[in-house]
C-alpha cells in the first residue's frame, strides 16, 4: 500500500486515460505511436547503443522481446499457467520462415500465416495432453517441450543441424519502404505494428468472455469449472494464442536475421522472456512492454563495460525485484488486502 501511493505510474496512466474523452484519447494514442515511430531517428542521442547498431537493437532484442513477452503474458499473466518452453514457438516460427523462404518462392508476409499456423498447431498438440496438469508439472513439461524442439532441429538434416539455415530472404519492400540490413527502420515499424495488433487483440479478449474465463481460471481453477467455464478449452485457447504470437515473432526474426541456428533457441530465451514479463509486471500489458523494453535494451546500452554488463544486468534484476516484487507496473491486485477469517464475528 505505502509503496504504491507515491510511485504508481500505472494508476497515473489509467486516470489520465479514463478522464480523457474520445478525441483526446485518439490524440494521446496517435501521438504516442508517432513518437515511438520516431525512435529509430534518436540514434545520435543518449539512447545510442555502443558497438551494436542502434536501429538494429530496437528491432532485436527490444521489439521482438516485447512481442514475445506480450504473447507469453497471455499464458502466464492472463491465465496463470507457467510456460518455460515458450522459445519452442519462436523457433517453430523462425524455422518455418527459414525453410519455406529458402525452398519456396513465398515471401515473408505469405509465410507469416504458415509460421503462426504451425506454432498454433504445436500449441494445441502440446496443450491437449498437458494442460490438464497444473503449476510445477506444467512448467516441467513445457520446459521439456522447448528442449525437444531445439534438439530436433539440432539433429535433423532438413534443418541443417547445428550449421543452421542461411540465406533466408528479407521481406519484400512495401512501396517506398525498403528493408535493408544496414538501416532497419522499416523493420522496427513493422514490429511496432505487430505489437499494436497484439495489444489490441489482448485488450479486446480481456474484456470479453475469454478474459473473464482466464481470470477465473487463474484465481481458482476448480471454482471456474464449477461456474461452467470449460477450463481445458480456455486454457488451450490461451496457450495457442500465446504460441501464435511467438510464431509470428519467430518468422519476423528469421527474416530479419537472414540466418538461424539451433543455438539461438535455448532455454535461456524462454527464461529471459519470462523475466521480461515478471520484471515489468505480470498480467499487465504496459508493464510487460516496459519490462521487455528495459531487459532487451539494457545489455546493449551498457555493452561498453563488456563482460561486466551481465553483472550489472543481474544486479538491476535483483534490486528491482526486491523493491518492486510485483514488477515495475504491476496489475491491480485487489486480493492483496485479504482479511483472514471471521473468527470473532
Amino acid at each position: 500500500m505505502k509503496i504504491r501511493n507515491y510511485w504508481n505510474l500505472r494508476d497515473l496512466g489509467a486516470s489520465v486515460w479514463e478522464k480523457a474523452n474520445r478525441p483526446k484519447r485518439v490524440v494521446i494514442a496517435t501521438s504516442s505511436i508517432f513518437l515511438v515511430g520516431l525512435l529509430p531517428f534518436a540514434g545520435a542521442s543518449f539512447l545510442a547503443t555502443p558497438i551494436a547498431a542502434y536501429d538494429a537493437v530496437l528491432v532485436y532484442p527490444v521489439g521482438v522481446f516485447i512481442l514475445m513477452a506480450l504473447g507469453l503474458n497471455i499464458v502466464v499473466g492472463k491465465s496463470g499457467m507457467l510456460d518455460l518452453g515458450y522459445v519452442a514457438f519462436f523457433a517453430i516460427g523462425a524455422y518455418t520462415m527459414a525453410l519455406m523462404g529458402t525452398h519456396t518462392g513465398l515471401n515473408t508476409w505469405e509465410i507469416m500465416p504458415f509460421g503462426i499456423g504451425f506454432a498454433m498447431l504445436a500449441g494445441v498438440l502440446l496443450g491437449l495432453p498437458t494442460l490438464r496438469l497444473r503449476g510445477d508439472y506444467l512448467a516441467i513439461v513445457t520446459l521439456g517441450f522447448g528442449e525437444i524442439v531445439r534438439l530436433v532441429v539440432l539433429n535433423s538434416t532438413w534443418s541443417k543441424g547445428p550449421n543452421g539455415i542461411a540465406n533466408i530472404p528479407m521481406p519484400p519492400d512495401i512501396g517506398p519502404f525498403k528493408f535493408k540490413l544496414e538501416d532497419q527502420k522499416v523493420f522496427f515499424w513493422v514490429v511496432v505494428i505487430m505489437i499494436l495488433l497484439v495489444i489490441w487483440m489482448i485488450r479486446r479478449l480481456s474484456i470479453r468472455r475469454p478474459g473473464r474465463a482466464w481470470e477465473a481460471i487463474r484465481q481458482d481453477e476448480d471454482a471456474a469449472e464449477l461456474m461452467g467455464v470449460a477450463t481445458l478449452k480456455y486454457k488451450i485457447w490461451s496457450f495457442t494464442l500465446g504460441a501464435a504470437v511467438g510464431g509470428a515473432a519467430g518468422v519476423l526474426y528469421a527474416s530479419k536475421n537472414l540466418f538461424i541456428a539451433p543455438e539461438m533457441f535455448t532455454l535461456n530465451v524462454s527464461i529471459l522472456i519470462l523475466s521480461c514479463v515478471v520484471f515489468g509486471g505480470i498480467g499487465n500489458i504496459w508493464g510487460v512492454v516496459v519490462g521487455a523494453t528495459i531487459l532487451g535494451y539494457l545489455p546493449d546500452r551498457i555493452r561498453f563495460i563488456s563482460d561486466a554488463r551481465l553483472l550489472v544486468f543481474g544486479a538491476v534484476l535483483v534490486v528491482v525485484m526486491n523493491f518492486r516484487p510485483d514488477g515495475l507496473l504491476p496489475r491491480k491486485k485487489r486480493e492483496k488486502a485479504i482479511v483472514k477469517s471471521e473468527v470473532n464475528a
Binding site: 473473464r212 469449472e225 464449477l226 461452467g228 482479511v339 464475528a345
Partner: protein
C-alpha cells in the same frame, strides 16, 4: 428431478476414498451427509459436481447417468456447487463473482438483474459490499458469496460443502437459516457437514459416512435422537 448416486467408487491414485456409496436426493429435500474428517463427504460432493472422476458406479440426475459429463456441463443440467473453503475468486469484486455464476447461462443478460436482486435479498450483506474484492470479505461473507454465486446458475440441486467451516456460531446459525430459506424457494439441497447438530436440525434426511461407506441412513430427526449418533457426532452422550 431426482439425484441418485448408485454404488459409487472413487479413487485417489490407488487409494479408494469412496467404497460404494449410494445416496438418494428427492426433489425439494434437504439431504445431509455427515461424518468425521476423511469419511469421504467432500469427495462424494466433488464427484457429483464432476471435479473428481468416477471409478465405478452411476450418478443419475433427471433420469440420465451424468457420471461421464464434464463438470462445466453439469452446471447447465442444474447442478451447482458452492465449494469447500469458500472457493470464491479473491481478486474479483462481489459483483464480478456473482456474474461468474452466470458464465454458462445462455440468456444471462436478461436474467442478471433479476437474479442479483434475489441474491441481494437473501444476503443483504453482499449488497453493501458489491464493489469490494472477494478476498477482502470476512469468512461469513465469503461463504454467503459462494452460495450466492452458486445460486446465480439457477440450480435445481445446490451442493453445499461445509458452509459452517471456520465460522462463528452466530454466523453459522445465520447461514443455516438462509439454507432453509433457499430450500423453501424450491431448490433441492445436498449438504455436507461436520456440524452435525445444525445439519440434522435443518435437513429432512441424512446419511452418515465413515471411511468411504454409508453406515446409516435415516430421517434427520430420528438421527438427532439416536443415542449412538448423539454419542459419536453430537458430542453429547446418551446418559445426558
Amino acid at each position: 428431478m431426482r439425484l441418485e448416486i448408485r454404488d459409487l467408487h472413487v479413487h485417489y491414485g490407488k487409494i479408494e476414498a469412496i467404497k460404494g456409496v449410494s445416496v438418494v436426493v428427492n426433489e425439494g429435500e434437504i439431504v445431509t451427509l455427515i461424518g468425521a474428517n476423511g469419511a469421504g463427504k467432500t469427495t462424494t460432493l466433488k464427484t457429483i459436481s464432476g471435479l473428481r472422476k468416477v471409478s465405478s458406479g452411476a450418478i443419475i440426475f433427471d433420469g440420465q447417468d451424468i457420471s461421464k459429463v464434464p463438470a462445466h456441463e453439469r452446471v447447465d443440467l442444474g447442478i451447482s456447487q458452492a465449494p469447500e473453503g469458500r472457493g470464491i475468486f479473491p481478486g474479483m469484486t462481489v459483483l464480478e463473482n456473482l456474474e461468474m455464476g452466470k458464465f454458462h447461462r445462455k440468456n444471462r443478460r436478461q436474467e442478471m438483474a433479476e437474479d442479483l436482486d434475489k441474491i441481494y435479498e437473501l444476503f443483504p450483506r453482499l449488497k453493501e459490499r458489491t464493489s469490494q474484492a472477494g478476498g477482502t470479505l470476512s469468512g461469513g461473507e465469503q461463504q454467503m458469496l459462494a452460495i450466492g454465486r452458486a445460486l446465480m446458475a439457477r440450480p435445481k440441486v445446490l451442493l453445499l460443502d461445509e458452509p459452517s467451516m471456520g465460522l462463528a456460531p452466530q454466523m453459522i446459525a445465520n447461514i443455516f437459516r438462509i439454507i432453509t430459506e433457499i430450500n423453501k424457494q424450491g431448490v433441492t439441497i445436498l449438504l455436507v457437514e461436520q456440524n452435525a447438530q445444525q445439519a440434522l436440525q435443518r435437513a429432512h434426511r441424512a446419511y452418515i459416512l465413515e471411511t468411504g461407506n454409508v453406515v446409516k441412513e435415516a430421517k434427520a430427526s430420528d438421527l438427532l435422537n439416536d443415542p449412538a449418533v448423539r454419542e459419536a457426532y453430537l458430542g453429547t452422550g446418551a446418559h445426558q
